[in-house]
Symmetry: C2
Subunit: 404 residues, 2 copies
């Protein structure tokens, strides 16, 4: 007997029929003798419907109330799925985030989980019940409803798996696993049987959308084996785990493409200590994640400071930096969304030199100009003109023989 | 400065525009310098939409999960109303039933409020915030979500008013007050400026739909002045309060008609002690309210035992009584929904004899046959053939000069 956490996203629970299909899937796991916790999202379209109502009422709704509003989406799903399980003879009990005290910080819309009170869940599992948990939501210390942000249901699933020491956390989604790259761009892309947490983390951070980066972090931190699989077709999916697990180490595991990038450049900054902090401090105060950072020191003692953020955050960043530009005596701050980020990820990089060189060669042969470069132990990212995005991915997929 | 609880039902918050109208109404009270707690229902149609989804999934959904499901309706409304208030510059904060620990018993779908934790609400009011509370819902001691049953938002409003010692609890609805009888039946029906709790209780219990009986009970018990008024047109409405308040006492305050009655008759019961308990015990165990009770002892030592319940409960009652009939050695149990209950209510009855006689005379003059009779200190109810319902109401309204 194993304990599995199964997570189903919005598309998988998008209609009464699909909820019944999920119930059947869960029932099959129960009949195999396993204990099951199910984490579900809102029915697809529901969150947007609710936000649409809010927009009609307020141009910029208070974040606390937005969370009260959208958290009803998952609450509807947990009730319906519990009913669907009961209807086929599987006893089940639903819980909202607040009911099992998924305690988070108080950043509405982007909250982070701190702890979970697993006592009720444990008790239900021991009584042979399936436990159905609302993803994406929690409460802060004052019992205000919080949400974890889009995709937060994955994080809820992993947090439940960690809190209850589950044997595996299974993320059911609309793809059947993690691929070497986006199959819509490279038809030869290959499903990976296994991948390490670190690689998955870098891939997710680099724009691969199959899993939310925070859920992978969480899974890695608490060593929760994570499996991505399709809720529509049977199959083993991709297991995300630690290297120790007798894994062959490919040089490169995958290539990620992100088009949702924006570049912010503060031009003509007098070069003196503390520039980076003066510029990035206010950005991080607004809870915007900064990705790549490049600083070029010119001959005139002036410097251009460039960094990338999510495209959705660009406007906010430019606004925050206006007064900073004045304070620093810089020339101006400009934004650009006309770029894509391509990342090569693989734990094999640790022991192989020359990957970066090979990457730059392949791109230059196709006439693709590299704007920014950033590297980690197991990742190389570059930004390029967005027009060349697909060509770059296809070129690198071939250059590193990922189709084999 | 006064503290008012304002309650708006589903029709009053049925659309974005109506929610904005409610916000404007609340803002007007705030600008007059009052502290306001708003209690709201689900947007009209929403509860039925949710129950419709449940029905597609389960013929008889588990009550616990139904409550999880339908309680999202009010949660959506509190968030949207708080946003609408914020949008016009009125700071507001929403609370679900669970968040202010509206503690109830564990009877899902028909729960009763035991206590409310008013600390947060008090704190918000002191900070000048409007507090927006989800009606109709609470949590039991185990933190399971419960609902109070249809119309339970009125009860929530009164309970909030009692817990916070509000000066008045204002129930905004689609009628502009309490009438001597249903104006759709008697066009001459008159709006009452005031009425006592006892009278309102008897009228509500007798089928007048303007207020839920439990909310009136609650208001009476905690001496919360209750006002019924229209959310669509301005006006003083009807104040429900205690007799002490220098009120002229009319002989009859109102006439209530209920068509949602069912009569259950257990025929041929051997007449021995304990019959009433043997029959009504199992009924009350299923949380069905029994209204009128009549027992006729025949000459043959056999008795017919008859009582009325809500028409919606008839099926359940008949099923519960099947084994009881066998146990008692009775002949059979039969149900009938072809009846209406007409009730005369007035505190003046206490000091006036002959009201019942006058009522029976007026009905008999129109050839209306009385089936069952039941009386309280301030009410006389009769059941008659449903075909004569409107005629009976019009006849009595005239016989007791209620149009004047």
């Amino acid at each position: 007997m194993a304990l599995y956490v199964e997570k189903y996203g919005g598309t998988s629970v998008g209609s009464v029929e699909r909820i019944q299909a999920v119930a059947a899937n869960v029932a099959a796991s129960v009949r195999e003798g396993h204990q099951i916790i199910v984490v579900v999202s809102a029915m697809s379209g529901e969150t947007n419907r609710l936000l649409g109502l809010a927009e009609e009422i307020h141009p910029n709704p208070p974040a606390r109330e937005s969370d009260v509003l959208v958290s009803t989406g998952e609450q509807v799903t947990i009730a319906l799925l519990s009913m669907a399980l009961d209807a086929i003879g599987v006893p089940a009990r639903s819980y909202t985030g607040g009911q099992i005290r998924i305690l988070t910080d108080e950043i509405h819309g982007k909250a982070r989980i701190r702890s979970i009170d697993a006592a009720n869940v444990q008790n239900d599992l021991e009584k042979g019940r399936v436990v159905v948990v609302a993803g994406f939501q929690g409460v802060d210390a004052e019992n205000n409803i919080t949400t974890l942000g889009r995709g937060g249901s994955d994080t809820t699933a992993v947090a439940m798996a960690a809190a209850l020491r589950a044997d595996e956390c299974r993320i059911y989604t609309d793809v059947d696993g993690v691929y070497t790259t986006d199959p819509r761009i490279v038809p030869e892309a290959r499903r990976l049987d296994r991948i390490t947490f670190e690689e998955m983390l870098e891939l997710a951070g680099a724009g691969a959308k199959v899993l939310q980066i925070r859920s992978v972090e969480f899974a890695g931190k608490y060593n929760v084996p994570l499996r991505v699989l399709s809720s529509f077709e049977p199959g083993p999916g991709t297991l995300i785990t630690y290297e120790e697990d007798a894994m062959e180490e490919p040089l490169i595991s995958g290539i990620a493409l992100s088009r949702d990038e924006a570049k912010v450049t503060v031009r003509g900054v007098p070069d003196k200590p503390g520039i980076a902090y003066a510029i990035l401090g206010p950005i991080s105060d607004t809870h915007v994640n900064v990705d790549m950072i490049v600083q070029n020191i010119g001959l005139d003692g002036m410097t251009d400071f460039t960094f990338t953020v999510g495209a959705a955050d660009l406007k906010r960043c430019l606004k925050v930096l206006e007064p900073v530009v004045e304070e620093l005596g810089a020339t101006e701050v400009v934004g650009d969304t006309n770029l894509a980020k391509i990342s090569l990820v693989g734990v094999g990089m640790r022991s192989h030199a020359g990957i970066a060189t090979e990457m730059f060669r392949a791109l230059s042969e196709k006439g693709i100009n590299i704007q920014m470069i950033s590297t980690s132990e197991i990742k190389i990212s570059v930004t390029i003109d967005i027009e060349y995005a697909e060509l770059a991915v296809r070129t690198l997929h071939k250059a590193f023989n990922l189709e084999e």
